[in-house]
């Protein structure tokens, strides 16, 4: 089901209608039915994977909870000498169950998503020894949303293991959470105790929420159709034929790619958050004006926020606070001093986080390199913090000045765009060739193409893209300054209506186009 289509519009409208027609306590059943319909519309075979994933995590959480209760009961009845042994035995059992569950959930995802990549690399090594074999794991199709529901299930099991909240006893309720269609294709990553509370609470229909939700859906669809999809053609043409262009136009295409992916991904989020808002369900926000970030670290706290939160809670903290992490800290403290000692466990954890983040985005060396570039920059920011402070003092730079802040924002955007040379290339060879070609072909005349860019991008769509990108920047600046809500309220109803009508008109004009039928970019991860 294409999310920007009449089919999806009817589906969403019917879901909302049925949701509020059915009595309060049973409303989640409508969502369960909608989830199943949505999932089946992409192909009936793949639902088997999500059911299995949900079933394994559901049963495991119940077993874990039982073990926790048994252990607590034994502790109550035990003597002081026995308590430590009981605690250790309980923890060991819990850990085993949790580890086996996580592996069972991860296994099919790893085979489908990474099997071909791993096999290819193994075969490349074997070919050095003149052993040639065929890669039988290529072409496996990743079921819709698998990279998302697998993480939701793991988060749920680990949270129950940590005793953060009780296991859900009703499988269908749990399945409604795992398969919740607004977050299954591109996130956000949600926690069961947070989203579950939203899904299973009774929500009354609100006219205000309906208007707010529709406005946000419209804005999201507009970003996708009038910005992201229009830009796609130009970017693909330029980067697909990079030999024909020089440094300026290749870099321009990469910069536009940053806007494209932002409009695409945040557009999806706006549509889903808007839809859920109508129902009274609030999804976690995934963006906080990422292009206003002053450092790469800050950028990642503003871009795909919930993925960063997931990796922080389930990879960064466990690794940095593990026994190995503590031992490493102590060793580094003695060798390199207190500061490095304190940071080294975090750096180790960060390495794992960026390896996982890179691989999560795709089974390709390009994504790994992209991840490690982010890692190196973030690492140098924390490790060289004192050096940077010293340089700034020597150069009399005022960190609070507008010019410095603007420089930092620009620097971060440039860095993020440079990293994208890797994440958007199909393979390492293309990424390196594109970079090498760009940096050895300065064609100053190309500046004219950039200035008159709007003439080159396909005809009538130029103005739409032009307006869209300007509005996108204005909205982000207002949000950053905390004035967006106020601006919306102050805007006269007539002007608001005209804006919405123009956006709707744009969607109607563009919707039948071939480009529009493209899927959302993050759905492919």
């Amino acid at each position: 089901m294409n999310l920007v289509s009449l089919h999806c519009l009817v589906f969403a409208a019917l879901t909302i209608l049925l949701y509020f027609v059915i009595p309060g306590k049973a409303r989640w059943v409508v969502l369960l039915a909608a989830n199943i319909y949505f999932y089946l519309s992409y192909g009936p075979v793949y639902i088997v994977f999500i059911i299995l994933c949900a079933l394994i995590s559901y049963l495991s959480a119940i077993v874990l909870e039982k073990k926790i209760a048994q252990s607590a009961q034994k502790l109550k009845e035990a003597s002081a000498e026995e308590k430590d042994a009981i605690r250790r035995a309980g923890l060991k059992q819990k850990k085993s169950i949790c580890t086996i569950t996580v592996l069972l959930i991860l296994a099919p995802w790893i085979v489908i998503k990474y099997g071909g990549f791993i096999m290819q690399n193994v075969l490349s090594v074997l070919s050095l020894f003149k052993i040639n074999m065929e890669n039988t794991l290529t072409g496996l199709i990743l079921p819709l949303g698998m990279s998302f529901y697998v993480f939701h299930a793991i988060g749920y099991v680990v949270d129950v293991y940590r005793g953060k909240y009780p296991a859900e006893k009703n499988f269908f309720k749990y399945f409604t959470f795992v398969s919740f269609f607004p977050h299954i294709t591109e996130g956000p990553f949600s926690r069961f105790n947070e989203l579950g509370k939203e899904i299973f609470s009774e929500h009354r229909f609100s006219y205000d929420r309906l208007c707010e939700g529709c406005a946000r859906i419209l804005w999201g669809a507009y970003k996708k159709v009038a910005i992201a999809d229009i830009l796609a053609g130009y970017i693909n043409t330029t980067l697909g034929n990079y030999e024909d262009y020089g440094f300026i136009l290749i870099c321009f295409a990469v910069v536009l790619y940053s806007f494209r992916i932002y409009a695409d991904f945040s557009g999806y989020m706006d549509m889903m958050c808007g839809f859920c808002h109508i129902l009274g369900i609030e999804l976690s926000e995934n963006f906080k004006q990422p292009f206003m970030a002053k450092t790469v670290d800050e950028y990642w706290r503003r871009w795909h926020i919930t993925l960063g939160r997931w990796f922080r809670d389930y990879v960064f903290y466990p690794v940095s606070m593990s026994k190995t992490g503590s031992r490493l800290s102590k060793w580094a403290r003695g060798k390199w001093g207190a500061r490095t000692g304190k940071l080294i466990a975090g750096h180790l954890a960060l390495f794992f986080v960026w390896t996982a983040t890179g691989l999560w985005h795709g089974a390709n060396w390009t994504f790994l390199v992209w991840g490690y570039l982010n890692f190196i920059v973030i690492l140098s920011t924390t490790q060289l913090e004192e050096t940077y402070k010293g340089i700034k003092t020597k150069l009399h730079i005022n960190s609070d000045s507008f010019i410095w802040k603007a420089f930092c924002v620009g620097r971060t955007f440039v860095l993020i765009s440079i990293f994208r040379f890797f994440s958007l290339s199909p393979d390492m060879g293309t990424a390196l060739s594109t970079i090498a070609h760009a940096f050895t072909n300065f064609r100053i005349k190309e500046i004219n193409h950039v200035i008159f860019f709007f003439k080159n991008i396909s005809g009538e769509n130029v103005i739409l893209w032009d307006i869209g990108i300007v509005v996108l920047i204005i909205v982000d600046v207002l949000c950053e300054k905390g004035k967006w809500e106020e601006a919306k309220k102050k805007c006269p109803a007539l002007i608001r209506t005209v804006i919405y009508a123009l956006m709707l008109l744009t969607l109607i004009i563009l919707a039948p186009g071939e480009d529009v039928a493209s899927s959302f970019m993050y759905a492919n991860f």
Partner: protein, 74 residues
């Protein structure tokens, strides 16, 4: 409590830990600050704060963290 405040101020000297009560909710502390505080606290107070204790309610203020340390020390 003074020792804890000294540890926390040593890691982030730009935060007034005697007054702040929303260190996590307001995102004043980042992940690196938290693991640095945990590492110092574990060593200094002889406790074992682990990943399961990383809840906002334990780290939102110096007082809350102090209460966690006291609870662990029994």
């Amino acid at each position: 409590m003074d020792e804890l405040l000294s540890i926390m101020s040593g890691i982030r000297d730009d935060i007034d830990f005697t007054k702040e009560t929303k260190l996590i909710d307001d995102e004043l502390l980042d992940s690196f600050d938290i693991i640095s505080i945990v590492s110092e606290v574990n060593e200094h107070f002889g406790v074992e704060i682990n990943v399961d204790d990383l809840l906002p309610e334990n780290f939102n203020s110096a007082e809350a963290l102090y209460a966690l340390i006291k609870k662990m020390q029994g």
